[in-house]
Amino acid sequence: MKRYLRRVVLATALLTPCAARADGTNGALDALKQQMQQLQQKIQELETAKTSAPPTSVTVPAGAVTPEQLKEVDEKVDKVVEAQKKTLMSEFNPSIGLVGETVFSYRSRNSSETSSNRPGGFDIWQRSVELNVAASVDPFAKGYVVANASADAATGESTFGIEEAALQTTSLPWNLELKAGRFFGEFGKLEYIHDHELPMVNRPLAIDQYIGGESRTDGLQLNWLVPVEHYVSWTVGVGDSFGGDSPPSDPGGFRSIDELNYWSRLSTYFDLTPDWQAEMGVSGLFNPRTNDRGGIDAQTGPGGLPMTEHERRLGGLDFQVRYVPLRDNQFRSLTWGTELLYSDNRYLVDPDGTPGDGDEFSRSVGSFGMYSYLTWKLHRQWSTGFLFDYVQNAENEHDITYACSPYVTWALSHWNQLRLQYTYTDHNAVSGLKSDDAVYLQWAWIIGAHSHGWQQR
């Protein structure tokens, strides 16, 4: 303050001589002296006031934050910080879930008349108890295991096995994803769906016939999301085996590269309208040399001649049309799914059953199978549907089976579901089997974590 006043006085003194000269009077100098004295007096007064006055409280300007408000904000921030610290007990553990599935059934014929692995009459079958464990391995991959225990059809004893145990990359460049281990290979549409997630009780006959149940493999699979505006996905894979009930070629021997299974699938999708969707795919499976695959070494072909499979070829075409209303899709939807499969396996026919004596010849069997189903969800808890099956035997295309299965599903919740299904199965005369009626009641439940991956959508 003092310095400021001195500057003002000095500036005034420097500037005023011109004016003083202009006036030409001494009166101006007197006035200046007087002003200086007044200013000095003012400075003294201010200094006295500063030293003698008690400290004044800080006045808060209108609209500024009060201490109470600050405290409130602090409390809120603390709450947020605490919320961010909150962790669940399972936060650092893998997600774990368990699926149980019991099938109660009645079949009008015994297994020798139907070729089923389940007995005729009344049957209660704990089809699976499935333990699912999944977690990220690191920032680059995730891992998952599906272990399954089920009751043996003949003895009732539980058998425990690993259905899937695979590592899947999550950050490969160029839209690539690699999967390795034991997993369900991507072929068709329902082949890689677990039993309890199928829209019907049993896997369609054509898949059982040509794949051998679910598309399980010990192998390596590469998926590529084609970098275009439209959804196009391409998968290629190689594995020891392909099919849950289809063991690898040449077990225990020396396996050459042409004894492995190779598969591929190309799929795409269209939004027909915001509520209607269409998805389609084409799949192929090739095993150039399948000697001794799964013990298929002494089949009886047409004419009763013994034959051995030596090449496996399978092609598939699948499409699915779905009505999934945006507004209330949890309460109503419609799905129509169809898959066409063509098997063109090569067999070595040995008329006299003595290998290597020169009378063997190769025979190709082209057989066709398909299934088509329609499922209508009419309520959050209720859905109904119909499945049609048609399949020719992969070793003898004249051996034909077809089946019709209406079903109704009651989902008490997302984790507890009952399904009632009737199946009429008919075989033609070539098969030597008899038609039969069956009623199934499937009860499936889930505890713990359960999420649907992209494949199971």
């Binding site: 961010q84 909150k86 920032p139 959804y231 992209w454």
Partner: protein
């Protein structure tokens, strides 16, 4: 020469389009916030159109190429999108937007959740382990989401920091003005109780001083039983609950039945912009909700 110029222009237009930050949001309220903050510097696509259930957006493969090219995925968080987002993220094969990376924008960061369950046991239904995720129906908490989106945009495109912050501040000021207006409008319904189909409204009720009485659903994701409906109707009568809120994502039959039996008003309220006609933006949606609730109580 002419062709060369045309190609050059096309290239320039294409590169200009590419310069925009490509953002995918799960729901339409987040898309609206992102457009407000990003303006013409962002290209926004919402997976939901507004009429879906927030937990049940269909997993369309057509979303996959869009997410594959996204720079940011903006989500509600608190496991709101658990039924569809994890699988879509996996299918997108886009490392930028995977959880833990900068492109994964969880707007629940900074929100104190309500109704955090003590147990995640399924006997309590399809509970959200981190708490109720419907916080954007509280406009004050929605401001936190706006700020989060702005921070993510700034982190991704720091060269546009000034524009993003200017847009954010302008939108937050607009929201503040509207919040004051909504509070005034909602003053007459303070203390009024209501029932809704799903647990969408605890944050809204808390903000505007309403009493959230219960849900039509037995538990989250579990359909009501006859006994639950009966008990709900009798307790609504006893407590003089005047409103049943039917979210458009759920069938109207049961809420209507409850409203008729309890002799109260049934209103249809959107849970995100676009849920009912004339609610294309967040502000329009909140305007609609407040006006409809006030009108229902006055009836």
């Amino acid at each position: 020469m002419k062709l060369f110029r045309l190609l050059l222009m096309a290239g320039m237009i294409a590169s200009a389009a590419q310069a925009k930050v490509c953002v995918v949001t799960t729901l339409t309220d987040l898309a609206d916030f992102t457009r407000e903050v990003g303006d013409d510097l962002v290209e926004v696509r919402s997976l939901a159109t507004g009429i879906e259930d927030t937990h049940g957006v269909p997993m369309k493969p057509s979303f996959v190429p869009v997410m594959n090219r996204a720079d940011l995925i903006v989500l509600v968080g608190f496991d709101c999108e658990h039924a569809f987002l994890p699988a879509l993220l996996e299918a997108s094969k886009n490392p930028r937007i995977q959880k833990g990376n900068v492109g994964y924008v969880d707007c629940a960061k900074g929100i104190t959740p309500l109704d955090v369950p003590k147990s995640t046991d399924h006997s309590e239904g399809d509970v959200h382990p981190y708490g109720n995720p419907h916080y954007t129906l509280d406009p004050v908490l929605a401001k936190t989401a706006v700020a989060e989106i702005c921070d993510a945009l700034v982190a991704f495109a720091p060269e546009h920091e000034a524009e993003f912050k200017r847009n954010r501040d302008a939108y937050l000021a607009k929201l503040d003005a509207k919040i004051a207006e909504w509070k005034t409008e909602a003053a007459p319904i303070k203390g009024a109780a209501f029932v809704s189909y799903h647990e969408h409204w605890p944050y809204f009720a808390k903000r505007f001083g309403l009493k959230y009485f219960g849900t039509v659903e037995l538990k989250p994701g579990i359909d009501p039983t006859a006994r639950h409906i009966e008990e709900l109707v009798s307790s609504m009568k006893a407590e003089h609950v005047p409103i049943v809120v039917g979210e458009p994502q759920f069938p109207e039959k049961v809420p209507r039945l409850i409203a008729e039996q309890a002799g109260v008003t049934l209103v249809k309220l959107p849970i995100m912009p676009g849920g009912v006609p004339g609610t294309d933006t967040y502000i329009e949606m909140m305007d609609y909700i407040i006006k409809t609730m006030v009108a229902a109580v006055k009836k």
